[in-house]
């Protein structure tokens, strides 16, 4: 067991880096939760975990798709990043349409007077009694950055777990049957497990809403990243052992 872990030290480092990236990425995504769903706060009207999971899992799927044709790590990571970025962008643009044309409010934040990217003044557009509404430009850009990091993190974890399985003598290629690819199934489930752990830890750090990298809460990210770093080390050890055992069957 120990030799197996020592032989797979590089994939384990990848898994930990991936976990840390996922944890950091969550701080970029504009999450408004229930208040945003009622247009009383900026961001997307759902919880951090759901959004991070959505971006990460899309990244995982697109990375897995790329792994069908190549083992080139940069290509796999960029595929994961692009998949997650598309998912998050689509979510945010449709959210913005709903706010603008459905709810009838302009994207504006009450936390900062001027949008840091467009330099447009927004405090005059904020509805009374709200913290803002919609997705201002800076939130959108921040969300895309977060999705890219999350997608890279998810792809890195998945790639590392597949590499561990291949080193244990399992095959990850396109199977003849639709079902029955043990390695892909187990690597994907471990990646999802690690993803959820690392998406929830930062959501406790943020505690409610975050608008992206201009939000005052954003400065709290080191705490969550340290927590995720420690938690992911244990998850990585456990996942690598379980996959190596699969090779022994």
């Amino acid at each position: 067991m120990i030799e197996g872990l020592m032989a797979n030290i590089l994939p384990m480092v990848f898994i930990v880096i991936g976990g840390v990236l996922i944890s950091w990425s969550v701080h970029f995504v504009p999450v408004g939760g229930a208040p945003a769903a009622m247009a009383q706060a900026t961001g997307i009207g759902t919880g951090t975990v759901q959004l991070a999971a959505g971006a990460g899992l899309t990244g995982l799927v697109s990375a897995g798709f790329m792994m069908n044709v190549t083992t080139n790590l940069p290509l796999i990571l960029s595929s994961g990043a692009v998949g997650a970025m598309i998912m998050m962008s689509v979510t945010m643009i449709v959210g913005s349409w709903v706010y603008a044309y459905g709810v009838g409010c302009v994207p504006a934040s009450a936390k900062v007077k001027v949008d840091p990217i467009t330099k447009y003044r927004q405090d005059i557009y904020v509805s009374q009694g709200t913290e803002g509404h919609g997705l201002p430009t800076v939130c959108f850009v921040s969300g895309v950055i977060g999705a890219a990091l999350g997608g890279i993190g998810g792809a890195l974890v998945y790639y590392a777990l597949i590499e561990v399985g291949i080193s244990a003598g399992l095959s990850a290629g396109a199977a003849a049957s639709v079902t029955g690819n043990e390695l892909v199934g187990i690597a994907a489930m471990f990646a999802i497990g690690i993803f959820f752990v690392n998406a929830v830890i930062p959501s406790y750090n943020i505690g409610g809403t975050i608008e992206g990298f201009h939000d005052p809460k954003w400065k709290k990210w080191p705490k969550a990243v340290i927590s995720s770093f420690i938690a992911t080390i244990f998850c990585a050890i456990v996942a690598v052992i379980a996959i190596l055992q699969l090779g022994g069957i």
């Binding site: 229930a34 199934g185 187990i186 690690i194 943020i206 409610g208 938690a231 052992i241």
Partner: protein
């Protein structure tokens, strides 16, 4: 979007009793489902129901303090930790697999609980204990529902019959729903423990029915039918009971009738 109030939850059944039911009942169900012939794999489902009720109670206790984020997140971390611990324990444990998973889940839960309180500074006094309980409950729920599908918790069989064909994703979501949904649906000033836990039984029974359908692929129609039947009986009982509790806790339940027609309004 903080959920619940700030302070401990009022309890009728003490946490230790529920923990005993969840841990002992969960493990007993898993082992019975493993050692009995495939037709009796519904015992795994009964174990999963015990574990899900325990998980829902632990979520209820910790979420009553106000997490600062949604209740669903804690259910999702339960299954995230649970899936890692479950697959690891089954892979190294052999016949002691579920117990190894359970212990590993406790360790991962304790680490995350300590990190949440000490590093992130959530300041919830029961966070460490609740995380251990939630991770353990999530693990037992996953293994229990896997036993329903595969009829055994043998690592090779679970990987082939539950993980490789993707049923594990199904278990992940319905198990998570059972743990996170009861408190999320009942929270508020009039939340009562027995009502929340009865909803957990009802959700867990739905999970048994769904995994029962999935079990037809490997265990044949007879065993699958028995799994579904057991799940449906428990579901019907729990649903009636839950409806009774809702009526008990409601201020009053009145029939408003249908909307009046255009002629009646004139």
């Amino acid at each position: 979007m903080s959920a619940g109030g700030s302070g401990g939850a009022k309890t009728a059944y003490p946490p230790n009793t529920i923990m005993a039911i969840g841990a002992v009942g969960g493990l007993a169900g898993i082992y019975l489902g493993h050692f009995m012939p495939p037709a009796y794999s519904f015992f795994g489902g009964l174990g999963a129901i015990c574990a899900i009720v325990w998980g829902a109670d632990a979520v209820r206790r910790v979420a009553s303090y106000g997490l600062g984020t949604g209740v669903p997140s804690i259910g999702m971390i339960a299954l995230g930790m649970g899936i890692i611990a479950a697959l690891f324990g089954l892979s190294v444990g052999g016949i002691a697999g579920p117990i190894v998973s359970f212990i590993v889940a406790g360790i991962i839960g304790a680490i995350i609980g300590i990190l949440a309180n000490k590093v992130i500074g959530m300041g919830i006094p029961i966070m460490e204990r609740a995380m251990v309980e939630i991770a353990g409950a999530g693990t037992l729920a996953i293994i229990g529902l896997s036993v329903v599908i595969a009829g055994t918790f043998n690592y090779a069989d679970v990987v082939q019959n539950v993980v490789a064909n993707g049923y594990i994703a199904l278990i992940f979501i319905i198990g998570g729903m059972g743990i996170l949904h009861p408190f999320n649906a009942n929270l508020g000033p009039d939340e009562t423990q027995d009502r929340t836990l009865m909803l957990a039984v009802e959700k867990a029974a739905i999970a048994v029915v769904i995994t029962g359908f999935a079990s037809s692929l490997h265990e044949g129609l007879m065993a699958a039918g028995l799994n579904i039947l057991v799940g449906l009986i428990i579901w019907a009982f729990a649903f009636m009971k839950y409806y009774e509790l809702v009526k008990r806790d409601a201020y009053s339940v009145v029939g408003t009738g249908l909307l009046p027609s255009a002629e009646e309004l004139q």
